[in-house]
Point group: C2
Chain length 192, copies 2
Amino acid sequence: MATTHIASVPLEKAYRLINHGPTTLISSRYGETENVMAASWACGLDYVPAKVTVVIDSHTKTRELVEKSGLFVMQVPTVALLNTTRTLGNISMNDIPDKLNIAGVELFEMPGIDVPFVEDCIAWLACKVIPEPHNQEAYDLFIGEVVGAWADTRVFNNGHWLFDTADPELRSIHYISGGQFYAIGEGMEAYK
Amino acid sequence: MATTHIASVPLEKAYRLINHGPTTLISSRYGETENVMAASWACGLDYVPAKVTVVIDSHTKTRELVEKSGLFVMQVPTVALLNTTRTLGNISMNDIPDKLNIAGVELFEMPGIDVPFVEDCIAWLACKVIPEPHNQEAYDLFIGEVVGAWADTRVFNNGHWLFDTADPELRSIHYISGGQFYAIGEGMEAYK
């Protein structure tokens, strides 16, 4: 379980967890209902206070849960979660209530934050919605302030990703369309 | 020159050019002044009509040019442009007027669109700003409608990226921080 390798990440470095543009999973809960969707359109917005944007379509169950609870987790799935991520992006809990079991998702809790986290991801950004009704209604665009961030220390340590040396199953995945993804590749240093 | 390999991409497939989260270059022009900046916080927003978001800091020259002209190009640089991209993200034309020469950027024109394009990129999305003053002022967040899209046919063809078989110098690059990038990696197919 990924939870054995989690360490917190300073909020001012949280943007580094998604700066390379991975496909993300958005988890949320309201009352007894919890859900997870895949989101490619997830992006950094600010450093301090750390903020992110994410597009959450109005037809998704997640949209309802996020609007009601004002909370979500944006997390980074891996090569090992490729088919799970595909399923989470392909079917809606509005059509298939058993979605999470079908996708094979396991959830866990973080103390003090009432929103479910997805096991076996490599980074987690817990976010509080900054209400922007016009963006939400006109563009399905949500802004979240990052209130907590964590990463898997096997692949992110001391503020840096370790994709070149970590288990290849822990690489982030980057969706294109129609089931086609790319894993993140080789590290490159520009001049300092 | 990349211009010899350009083909247009249908607007409804333009999102595929940035869906995998590459670092982008934002080019713009107003009057006699043209500039290019690097932007990691660039993201898809909608399919039809195609829209994107991009964060453009208020201290950049690009911000002024985009606000005055209402146009920008979001383009995808490559491994071959690693140091150029770093320079474009590191220095401001407000401080160093000769920025584009220092970065080694070459620009080209597309007929009918009054905004400069960056040579040797692998994808180009010409965008018209959808004015959203609150987002621009509160978050430095710009929304663009994609009015034209093109890609380098050596690495994007028939709606699909060809990173696994194309020249590795044509891979997209994904910025983290402090000069550290990752190239895009191995292609992976989830179940259909």
